[in-house]
Assembly symmetry: C2
Homo-oligomer: 228 residues x 2
DNA sequence: CAGTTCCATGACTTGAGGTCATTCTATGAG
DNA sequence: CTCATAGAATGACCTCAAGTCATGGAACTG
């Protein structure tokens, strides 16, 4: 299994064309337009030509700046993800109530946040599920390097407050938190990814709150310190 | 957010061309060859033309049978997933030791199984992360309709034995199990998706066993009935 | 102002998915 | 055995989007 991705799969290229000084503004405008297009059309259906047309520039320019459609998407993805709040961005009074209250806060608000501005959320979905594995690897690198949601510091916060089990590796807790939060939110928010939890048949949406409570309970038992 | 996938995204087509009687054998041969190609090249890099060439048939034939590359991949994906064992396929003596022992059994064996035959595993990865959202929706439908790993019956098994919490909806348990098992196994097995749990810096593979034990412990606290 | 680097352009190339009129072939009736 | 017919196979052809590149500005540099 070792050599599959390195030898059999065609080499990806997310060439990081170094940010040229003069063109920063233009790069940013391209990324913005591309974000909208990707969000609305999906990765495959989005056309680089359309993005260029929408901006009134030549298609070649986009390739000169980003090298490839993948390269462009990766920039778009990073921008989208960086625009999301970090766990510890919750209001102080919430933070003071502790680790799991911060989680509850965000879960309850996610839906609202996404409704207000679904474009970056949609892009993050595309990156997570809708492109290809080579990109997924790149995204993983990005997450490990930047920790854009501040999960690591958030877990440290929970550990310091004694709200999290000390007998687990921190990495393990971080992974579990990342995985389950991501999947739960995706199921909560998007039709494509709901395995029937939220949309089976005419589930009244009040049930969502119950689901959130249940989910938090499960998580607390899983990684939380013994209560009292 | 409601209308995104229905109105803005171009309509996908996984037309289920009804299985013609005479061509069953050929369909199967195409699916086999395609499985190998997708696994080795990835979805995007795989060429329908190559698959046809490898079989010594015309490209048009493949489209006649499966309608589109997506359609072909979906068949391949289903075949791959159906080839995996169900939870309750574990040996009786393992089953007798209970729900979590069955999980331990499969986690310990997954790596082995995948080494022996990584092709269907790779295909399932592609379906889960490397194609597009429209396909993801189709895959979710498939899972809900077929429950190919037998997760639902497995959870019922755990509930009947009193090993799982009775205060959670069954659907919730199933989802949590699916999510975490999938991600954990993916991290265990693949470079692309490993968020650093197993390969951060030359982790010796003995650590894997420890991870598996930790993971099971976490899961047991999360969804298991109170011990003793 | 001259020289140089960067940037924009759009016509062009490449190549993959997908179509379709035609041809072939297996089957079963007469 | 022959012919009729439906399903399957074919490959030339079409479409269209990603990606390239030679050329021609535009903006700094000294």
């Amino acid at each position: 299994m070792s050599g599959i991705s390195s030898s059999l799969v065609s080499p990806p290229r997310y060439r990081n064309l170094p940010a040229r000084p003069r063109s920063e503004g233009k790069r940013a405008r391209i990324v913005d337009a591309a974000m909208r297009h990707f969000a609305e059309q999906g990765y495959n259906a989005a056309r680089v030509g359309d993005i260029a047309a929408a901006l009134g520039i030549a298609k070649g320019s986009i390739f000169q700046h980003f090298g490839s459609k993948d390269g462009l998407f990766f920039e778009v993805y990073k921008k989208a993800v960086r625009s999301f709040p970090r766990y510890l961005d919750a209001p102080v009074e919430v933070r003071d109530r502790g680790f799991f209250e911060v989680l509850r806060y965000w879960l309850a608000r996610t839906e609202h946040l996404v409704h207000e501005d679904w474009i970056p959320y949609r892009v993050s979905l595309l990156g997570n599920y809708g492109t290809d594995l080579a990109l997924k690897r790149e995204i993983n690198r990005f997450f490990m390097a930047e920790d854009p949601y501040g999960t690591v510091t958030f877990v440290r916060f929970g550990l310091q407050r004694g709200e999290l089990r000390k007998d687990l590796d921190q990495e393990m807790i971080v992974s579990i938190l990342d995985w389950t939060m991501e999947r739960f939110q995706d199921a909560l928010l998007t039709e494509e990814l709901d395995p029937g939890l939220f949309r089976r048949q005419g589930d009244p949406s009040e049930k969502k709150d119950a689901r959130i409570a249940q989910f938090l309970d499960v998580l607390q038992r899983a990684i939380g310190a013994e209560r009292r």
